[in-house]
Symmetry: C3
Amino acid sequence: MKMIMAIVQDKDSNKVSSQLAKAQVQATRFNSAGSFLRSGNTTFMIGIEDERVEEVIEIIHQASRSRKQFMTPPLNMDSIMDSGSSFPIEVEVGGGTVFVLPIDSFRHF
Amino acid sequence: MKMIMAIVQDKDSNKVSSQLAKAQVQATRFNSAGSFLRSGNTTFMIGIEDERVEEVIEIIHQASRSRKQFMTPPLNMDSIMDSGSSFPIEVEVGGGTVFVLPIDSFRHF
Amino acid sequence: MKMIMAIVQDKDSNKVSSQLAKAQVQATRFNSAGSFLRSGNTTFMIGIEDERVEEVIEIIHQASRSRKQFMTPPLNMDSIMDSGSSFPIEVEVGGGTVFVLPIDSFRHF
Ligand code: NI
Ligand code: NI
Ligand code: NI
């Protein structure tokens, strides 16, 4: 038995939840935040049999992998004055961090 | 020294807190949620001497054990039309999950 | 690699965050609460190389150490009737608890 602690971006958390549910993996969700930018993220705590650790990490990886996205930056007064328009830019979103911890014992009642 | 992570239903969390306090066991509480039904629950994080692990698990067990309860389901329009009344049904509430993790070291300042 | 779980008072949490950031230490923050007085605190979860464990604990220690502070207790009706004034008293604030846990593996994607 291992404990997996996984931190993913809020925008990926529902996908992570539903993919874990589809694989019948019980998880506990916590609202959390990064300490640098204080932006919200979601932490999942999962107790799982040793044989399924890699499978669970791969589920989280697929549901939260970092990828490029086009995003239109919000207009501000300067740019309106300047050009009157805003162009989509490519940004990187997603990504996650996973820790696997040993467990001494587990009880469900 | 061990770390106990215990997830219990919100309705049992105050009883768990007060029983831990009565036993002089320090705990940290987190609002959390199940990932299937997204229903709220409470996670307790407890650092405890090896000799007291079983005692703490038993406290949490007694305060959150699953049990049967009678509950009156909420009326909906169909059932009002149908029978004009709602009967109590037996449901299972409570239950918890406990993980015991090894700790390398501990510091209090 | 180790996992550090650190619980500090809310009033020290921004200092802890910024000192960790200054040392380039990634951390995840959680709102939490003590189970005795239910007062809010903040829990930091940090994955860190073995060689930096002591450094990180010392950062948290310096940013949250318990110290004496003078505080003016809030006036209540009795004391107004009684003396008409309120005197600063010395109270202890701060302090933290740190757990260091072993990690089997770590992944970032
Ligand atoms: Ni039982
Ligand atoms: Ni000190
Ligand atoms: Ni990848």
